[in-house]
Amino acid sequence: MSKIKAENVNVYYGSKQALFDVSIDIAEKEVTALIGPSGCGKSTFLRCLNRMNDVIEICRVEGSIKMDNLELNSRKLDVVRLRENVGMVFQKPNPFPKTIYENVAYGPTIHGIAQSKEEMDQIVETSLKKAALWNEVKDRLDEIGTGLSGGQQQRLCIARAISVSPEVILMDEPCSALDPIATAQIEELIDDLKKEVTIVIVTHSMSQAARVSQKTGFFHLGKLIEFGPTDKIFKNPDNQQTQDYITGRFG
């Protein structure tokens, strides 16, 4: 079933066009990987899905992006509600310089999700458990989040993202700053999370895309070259460019 349906999305940074007529169907409760060389527009596309491009003043988005039939690329859309439903994990772990507890509790607080302290404690615990971080931090929830190791920080960011029970989580190269062990932990986590949420992940690692995703989209120079089941993209792509990129001949 389709969760997000993008049609003819064009993105401009000032006069420079970054995305050309991208159309893509993202299925519910699956992991969709976006791959491609640097500067190909995959992160730009990802940021269209929770309207983070709004922050960039010169950025202009055209086309239609629908999530459950709700038009995302509309002036009338309430971005605060959208971002409650579409969480995001960034390339560099960016926990707030506050305690671990406050990091996870921030989303539920501003969206008024928890009614009481007990409920909040419960949300923090569940989120940290889902992010496979609970056992490591349960005794030091009042320590500063930025004091954790890189991998732990990234899992804290994931816990923060899932604390508001989003329907979609966007991940922008979440493992690029992590060592192989931390990466494996995050990948395992992604596998678990997809039972409940739809995940879109941008990655530079083709093996990671192959491991975690069900669908893969290959971007090149702002265009979506090929999109399909991960197996097919990696074993038998239709497009010569995809074939070249996968086999490491360019990019």
């Binding site: 983070m52 960034f90 960016n94 926990p95 310089p97 921030y106 969206h111 930025t146």
Partner: protein, 423 residues
């Protein structure tokens, strides 16, 4: 290695050594200037923290005090006539002196000696009718002689202390009746035309009130302006124009702000002249751009990843700013504020223009009482002819410097202690 290469290498090392020496010489020069400056001030000023007293005996004679009552009340003591008692206390130092020459003795103590005689009795009512020793503030001339700042070997007619007075002084000094004690009144007394009585209490309080008023006006305005410009305002020609103007404002000479204060605050709004209220508002015009620039710089220094994290969690712009960006920028903003205030602390020209240069011999209790300020006090005293003010100027500079050093220290502590580290 051939000789050409060797030479080149040697040249390179020599050049670096020379360069390091230039740097060392520059630092040495700067330090020696500072040392000379400090030595000047300390060597001239330290004696101002000592006060000279003349000890004599006073007889609280009921008859001379014109007290009739058997057991006089506080009011009786208050209203008694101390002129004769005080006069006798001084003239008793040399009973042989003809009456028409008595001024020579009276001039050796401050003109307030009568009040000092009165205050001692008011404090100790049981001294009535007794002969007790009393400390009287020495006149600034005697004070300077005692501190060795006054040359004794110049011709008598060029001296403010004549031979007779020196003779009395030497006699008293030999008896141990010239006391030198820590000068508390320098810190507790307001300004005076008499060097021996002048203190920094009024100018110190004036400075404190001015700085508080300045902080109260400039900090909220500057922080709000900085937050709006940095976090909310669209980036266009108009906001660029505003930014350029704020930077220009920071470079405007302070005397121009003084004229503005004079023309607007005093002439148009009719605020009370010579008060820390007006002084503080005028100074806040000066600190405003400094704080705005510091606050914007520290807002800019908050990593964009923190803003993105908050926005991606669904925080509004306002929540992102208030929950994350502003608290993280506060250490920088606060230390910028303190540095701005420290600059304002040393400002003299604008305060002179708004009338804080007036002679104020009361200690201000509120920001709307007339007051001077420390730098203006330095200016006022440095214009005075009496030798006694020379050391006062240096002492006042020392107090101002101590104040400045404390504030800069506070800025450093705020910056280092509260600054959050992010990975």
């Amino acid at each position: 290695m051939n000789s050409f290469k060797k030479n080149l290498l040697k040249k390179r090392y020599n050049a670096e050594r020379r360069f390091q020496w230039y740097g060392k010489i520059a630092i040495g020069l700067a330090l020696s200037f500072l040392a000379v400056f400090m030595f000047q001030i300390f060597s001239k000023g330290y004696s101002a923290f000592q006060k000279t007293w003349i000890v004599t005996e006073v007889h609280y004679d009921k008859e001379l005090l014109l007290i009739d009552a058997e057991s006089p009340s506080k009011d009786d003591l208050e209203n008694a006539d101390y002129y004769d008692v005080a006069y006798k206390a001084m003239t008793s130092l040399d009973p042989g002196l003809p009456e028409e020459e008595d001024r020579q003795l009276i001039q050796m103590v401050s003109y307030k000696y009568e009040t000092e005689v009165k205050d001692l009795l008011l404090k100790n009512p049981d001294f009535l009718g007794k002969i007790v020793p009393i400390k009287l503030t020495a006149s600034d001339d005697v004070d300077q002689v005692h501190k060795g700042n006054y040359p004794r070997d110049i011709p008598e007619k060029n001296r403010r202390v004549n031979d007779y007075q020196l003779q009395i002084y030497d006699m008293l000094n030999e008896r141990g009746d010239i006391l030198s004690e820590f000068n508390i009144s320098f810190f507790t007394s307001p300004d005076s035309r008499e060097a021996e009585l002048a203190g920094i209490a009024s100018s110190f309080m004036g400075t404190v009130f001015s700085i508080l008023v300045c902080l109260a006006f400039s900090f909220p305005v500057a922080v709000l302006a900085a937050i709006y410009l940095e976090e909310f305002a669209p980036k266009n020609k108009f906001t660029d124009f505003i930014e350029v103007n704020i930077n220009n404002l920071a470079a405007v000479p302070s005397i121009v702000f003084g004229l503005l204060g004079l023309g607007v605050l005093l002439a148009v709004f009719n605020l009370p002249r010579s008060t820390p209220l007006v002084g503080g508002i005028t100074l806040s015009l000066m600190t405003l751009p400094t704080i705005i620039i510091a606050a914007r710089a520290s807002l800019k220094a908050v990593p964009p990843s923190i803003r993105e994290a908050a926005l991606a969690m669904g925080a509004s712009n306002m929540q992102t700013t208030m929950h994350h960006t502003v608290p993280l920028s506060m250490p920088g903003t606060l230390s910028g504020t303190i540095i701005g205030l420290a600059q304002a602390l040393g400002e003299t020209a604008p305060l002179i223009l708004i009338g804080m240069v007036a002679f104020v011999n009361t200690i201000p209790g509120t920001p709307v009482d007339p007051a001077a300020s420390l730098p203006v006090q330095i200016y006022i005293w440095s214009e005075s002819a009496e030798r006694g003010f020379v050391e006062k100027v240096s002492a006042c500079i020392m107090v101002l410097l101590a104040f400045l050093i404390l504030m800069n220290l506070a800025a450093q502590i705020v910056r280092h202690k509260f600054e959050k580290k992010w990975s």
